[in-house]
């Protein structure tokens, strides 16, 4: 009589199917001879072949990786110090600091993009890879800070006091205890920053200049120009890379997660 409804379960699995069906179709179509993908025209790898010989794609990939590595490194450092400050100190400065770190997370990308474009144009800065990197560092800081902050909040700070009572100086406590303990948080933040930077289209599109086409900007122009099978092939490769990255991330975070008992 008190039996649970089957409806939520059905809805959940149907939604997961809804999540994956378009992606699965895309992967299948990347091997499809037929151009539009409405029917099966036979197995082929020719789209992948065309993809590897397209020079603009390699150039865009190079730009994307340059932007992602630099902005991940910078935002990881700045975001981590921000998280330390937010965790350790209280008061009016930190309230303002928290507001500045938190707000970019809720502002739509298009507003971040247009505002940074206007800022660079007003200062007469030439648009290019540098402006993309500056913009990426800006939005990545907030994500890194939140990832590290959540790790710090789980951490029992009394260990640090214990270490100090036992004679460790602040250098030792920071480098031998604090940093190793929150390292998974920093890694998670860096990985998040890297993924967001690689994926970002809207903000990059606004602050990009001639010759600074990133992979998402290139994919966007391919979507607009309509060479569908090539995008299928490129998307399949990117999906495979992302999937492996998530798997690695899950393994790292599970390995480092404090045991719940």
């Amino acid at each position: 009589m008190n039996k649970r409804s089957k409806l939520p379960g059905l809805l959940t699995w149907a939604t997961l199917l809804f999540f994956y069906l378009p992606i699965i179709l895309l992967v299948i179509n990347s091997f499809n001879m037929s151009r539009t993908g409405g029917s099966w025209g036979g197995f082929t790898l020719k789209w992948y072949g065309q993809l590897f010989s397209a020079r603009e794609i390699w150039h865009a990939l190079r730009n994307t990786l340059i932007v992602a590595f630099i902005s991940t490194a910078a935002s990881t450092i700045i975001g981590t110090t921000a998280a330390f400050a937010l965790h350790r100190y209280r008061g009016r400065i930190q309230d303002a600091h928290y507001f500045l770190v938190y707000t970019p997370l809720v502002v739509p990308e298009i507003l971040l993009g247009i505002s940074m474009l206007l800022f660079f144009v007003a200062l007469k800065v030439n648009l290019g890879l540098t402006t993309i990197i500056l913009a990426h560092i800006t939005f990545c800081i907030s994500y890194v800070a939140m990832a590290v902050l959540s790790r710090l909040q789980d951490f029992d700070l009394t260990i640090l006091e214990a270490a100090r009572d036992l004679g460790a100086n602040s250098w030792t406590t920071t480098w031998s205890i604090l940093i190793p303990v929150i390292f998974p948080g920093i890694m998670a933040g860096a990985l998040l920053a890297f993924t967001l930077s690689i994926d970002d289209f809207v903000i990059s599109f606004f602050v990009a200049g001639p010759g600074s086409t990133t992979l998402p900007i290139h994919i966007y122009s391919m979507i607009k120009r309509g060479s569908m099978p090539l995008i299928n092939a490129l998307s399949t490769i990117l999906l495979a890379v992302t999937f492996l990255a998530i798997l690695a991330y899950q393994i790292i975070s599970r390995h480092n997660r404090p045991k719940e008992d």
């Binding site: 999540f19 450092i77 770190v101 502002v107 298009i110 505002s115 800022f119 289209f201």
Partner: protein, 292 residues
Amino acid sequence: MTSSRRRLWAECSLTAPSMLWLLVFFLLPTLIILAIAFKPADPSGGIAEGWTLQTLASLRNPNYPEIIFRTVWLSAVTTFTTLAIAIPIAYYIARSKPWKRDLILFLTIIPFWTSFLIRIFAWKAVLHPDGILKNILVFCRLASPDTLLLYRPEAVLLVMIYTELPFAILPLYAAAEKFDFSLIEAAMDLGAGRLRAFFSIFIPGIYSGLLSACLMVLIPSIGSYVIPDVVGGIDSQMIGNVIAQRTFVDRNLPAASALAAVLTLVMVIPLIYFLRVKKTADKSPTPAKEVV
């Protein structure tokens, strides 16, 4: 150096990098939007000298009210539908066995990490006039061969719901995980029906997560630009599209910034409302706790 001064110095050196960076590259550019809305446009695509009210007057464009209304309407429907789907899912995940819970969460997180553009493109291929969905619909005689699935507001709505669902499921699940499900059994023992228990015990119990999910879906929806651009047509333009058009097609940055100011305004109203409600919701005990 006294210890209080050293402490202040330590706080400043930890706070300064992020604080200064965000002041220069986030707060200042946001304020510049407002300033540039009062500047004349430079025909070469830049910003000219002097001040003008002409750009603000350009906001009286007869197409704008319709576009603003459509933006709000599509975002509201997306938020409502997404939450209606995500609430039962969060309920189901929270009540599942640990292995099943991990599996569903993992499957929900993957789309969250995959490229936004690729997910939208995948739908463009599905809805394409020669795509698979159309072929199936025609085969089942549910659509005539000249039906257009792409380039209409319904397509925008579908893809918006698709991309926003994971953002609603995760905060709702975080709230549902903390919910004490024995309360539902208690309510049902006391004679409440299944639906009544769900709506008057479970929903108020996850109220705070509900507000977060609402915000997580509504705000990005209002700022949508890529989705209406890729799967929508002329009759599905949103504010974001007009901003991009002014920026990249007309090369009129002051007009784009005036519209961005409008978008900020449309967005800030629900934001302030939610933050205020959330503050009171976080402070007061949830109705579910009061029952205990």
